[in-house]
Symmetry: C2
Subunit: 495 residues, 2 copies
């Protein structure tokens, strides 16, 4: 087994509201479940934010040497329009609109989801189970809940009995919703006469006539509820007691609250160690929403085809922008914020690249004049402290100051420290933050520009100013600026 | 609805051994099921061949305006080692070797599969169902077969009863296997004592102790057989009577034979109109096989890291090479064959590009001197004749001869004919064959080369031979050859 870098990781546990020390249940292993998308629409930027932040967590654990089993589901049935027990199935409804079979909708938007996450350099999870792939498991769970008196059947639907559950447990413990308020607020909901109490929630719904997606069950033809799938799939692949359950903050209630009640009801024990919730993403200060037209899809950011941003932005820049914010902070996306992220991204990358030119063979006996190990420890501590990526990024910028001073010869590093410094920067930038270098031009272009620089230098030495100016001006037209330093000419390319 | 280009398509029907006219069951629609991979290993080039040829068929129907529902499954359980009823589950076995959960194996190799097909420019199918996602449907099918006396349970496993089936139907009709020979050859197989007849095949297998993947069923804990999933999923998404069932020739027996018996047994009718089987792919004349080391993975062809080929080849070249062969022919891959495919690919693409420069405004009143419509009709006829892609490609090369003669002014085309000619070539090359232009260099490089050509031409007019020779030689080092024609200098790039 790969050696694990032991760290003292603290995670803000959403259920206790406190930062707690993370001790994995099985030594060297991390089990993490994150609620994936309902695949009925093009992926939302807010979802991407969630998956980018969990990718950071996944990557940090992997970087430390943990064997991480990361399960992220695809919801392809049972998610009703109002996120609760009434309304049409989101996928079924879209299938009617697009005149496709529901599973064609699932395929179309699963592909969009995967392609978008790939552009953001988000690693695929270890397992990506689907709700329709686990109907039997869900039926088995419902049978147990009925047997334990925690669920009841009415007219071919099955509901979770919160009153019975509350004899031993406390529904609302995660989201801090008070049960009495729930009753009050749900009293006015119609069509809930089937339920013994309006606060109960569905586990299995009887399929109405003409409902396309349905399966046989002990209670007749029907389909599983949205909440049940995640309980079933998390336990199936991570065991009944696992380390981390995550998702967007909007899922905390009712989705995660129901999930928690279901699993706890079945296993009579605490089943999840840490709940992690990522915060919301706003656009120009307002909630993204189709109805108000305040909405921006990832593809529109990449292409620049939108009315909010003055130019296109590379997925890497958007990823960097998101990680400049902590996962528990609200992120507000705007033109200025992305322009700033782009500038700082290139600044970080260009300065990091300078390390390639700094080290000289004659520094073998140099005594280091700053403490690389302490800086590295600070980087780790940022990540150990509830995955504080903005703090990590600011420490990487601190490192770019060191690079400037190394360049000027004000600071010095011995060979071992230099390599540690360079490797640590590399690992945190590429492996942990998951950034990638954006190549503005390819290698052939680079070689051609260098050839042009050579021709221009010859022209200058022959005082052929017409040719040398001509080359400079023509390159400028192509967005390539030449910079003449002491003995060397370098070039810069416009973003 | 999009207008359909009516064609008289003939398909070689594998079950009758004859080319038959294709009439879709539902006007304007095509339902096609193709057996997908068992995701326990990196995708095999032979599989890619199958999926490239079915992509051609999918694309041609779409191009003609049909609404195609193309279902291609993922086998994630039940495919046993010897493709029959004994041996370990392929995925379960790999999970033990790689020390992963079976569903982690499924995820890993599904991603590899999708990425490879994406590189080959293979369109995703409309629906991509998984075997584990359809356990309930498979159990329901088995119940019906038992009820009809076509299956029986022994010790928690269920077998298909071929003798009972043969009272009304004929097992072996697809693959022309004689039932008596089957009995003879299977008589020596061990561990088949459970079966009433050795020729019977499993529908459901009892899960041995410690078998990881299993589900509850009326016959106890177990898992479905490989053959059953395709029967279930094809009918679920295409209806019990659908147009086309396809797969590699190696699946014809026993997989497709068993599928056919299962569906026919349930529905008492012919359920599939056309069976299409793609032929095998060999490497240097021999079957690809891990044990003899005569094996080449797609990624090794693209990277060039292999002992069979002298250079890397772009996925597009491999696709073109495969489509230069008919789907029913054995394809032999070799270094020479790929070199040849690469040469002809660039020849086709470069000549097609010349059409951009040929047309002049003054041809408005020109009378065409060759019949574009007949040539287009020939292209269609090639595809109508059992998807004859090699014939189509030879007609595209016939078109390149026309282009040469158009360039020289020997042939002429009126504006309408010219546009028809250009559009038809475009559609058959890009939409039907699914080829893509391979850009050897990017736009910036092109502009830089043109700048260098300009500088060189100035140098030549000033008789500065040193500079002009220098530019030519330096570019040659980069693989870029300059060609001086009458008034213009062009460049060529080494592959």
């Amino acid at each position: 087994m790969k050696k694990i870098i032991k760290r003292n990781i603290k995670i803000y546990n959403s259920i206790t509201g406190k930062k707690e020390i993370f001790n994995p249940i099985i030594k060297g292993h991390v089990g993490m479940y994150v609620c994936g998308p309902t695949v009925y629409n093009k992926i939302h930027l807010g979802n991407c934010r969630t998956f980018i932040h969990f990718d950071l967590i996944f990557r940090y654990f992997k970087y430390l040497g943990y064997k991480v089993r990361y399960v992220r589901n695809i919801t392809d049935v049972g998610h009703l329009e109002n996120d609760n027990d009434e309304g049409e199935d989101k996928i079924g409804k879209k299938a009617k609109i697009e005149k496709l079979e529901p599973m064609e909708i699932v395929q179309k938007y699963t592909i969009d989801f995967h392609q978008t996450l790939y552009l953001f350099n988000i690693l695929p999870p270890s397992i990506e189970p689907t709700a329709t792939g686990h109907i039997i498991d869900q039926i088995e769970y419902i049978k147990i809940l009925i047997k334990k008196g925690l669920a009841y059947e009415v007219n071919g639907s099955v509901y979770f009995n919160i009153e019975a559950y509350n004899k031993n447990y406390e529904y609302g413990i995660l989201s801090k919703h008070k049960i009495d308020n729930l009753i009050e607020s749900s009293r006015f909901l119609k069509k809930q006469q089937e339920k013994r109490n309006p606060k109960d929630f569905a586990l299995w719904k009887k399929a109405p006539i003409n409902h396309i997606m349905h399966w046989p069950s002990p209670w007749g033809n029907g389909f599983p509820s949205w909440h049940l799938e995640c309980s079933t799939m998390s336990v199936k692949y991570l065991g009944k007691f696992f380390d981390i359950h995550g998702g967007g903050l909007d899922l905390k209630f009712p989705h995660h609250e129901c999930e928690l009640a279901q699993i706890q009801g079945i296993y009579n024990q605490k089943t999840i160690n840490f709940w992690i919730h990522t915060n919301m993403l706003t656009l120009n200060g307002y909630k993204m929403s189709k109805s108000t037209m305040n909405i921006l899809l990832p593809k529109d950011i990449f292409s620049g085809k939108n009315t909010f941003l003055e130019k296109p932005f590379h997925p890497n820049i958007v990823r960097f922008f998101i990680l400049k914010n902590h996962y528990r902070s609200i992120i507000n996306i705007s033109n200025d914020a992305l322009i700033d992220a782009e500038r700082t991204y290139y600044s970080l990358m260009n300065k990091f690249k300078k390390l390639d030119n700094i080290y000289y063979a004659d520094t073998d006996n140099v005594v280091s004049t700053f403490d690389v190990f302490s800086w590295k420890e600070e980087c780790h501590k940022a990540m150990d402290d509830d995955f504080n990526s903005p703090m990590l990024i600011s420490l990487l910028f601190k490192a770019t100051k060191y690079i400037e001073l190394l360049e000027k010869g004000v600071l010095k590093l011995g060979i071992d420290d230099f390599l540690l410094f360079k490797n640590t920067m590399h690992n945190f930038i590429f492996k942990v933050l998951g950034l990638e270098p954006i190549e503005k031009i390819d290698n052939v272009s680079k070689k051609l520009i260098n050839l042009l620089i050579k021709i221009r230098n010859n022209a200058r030495s022959e005082k052929n100013w017409i040719l040398s100016d001509n080359i400079r001006n023509e390159l400028k037209e192509l967005g390539i600026t030449l910079e003449d330093n002491k003995n060397i000419t370098t070039f810069k390319i416009k973003t």
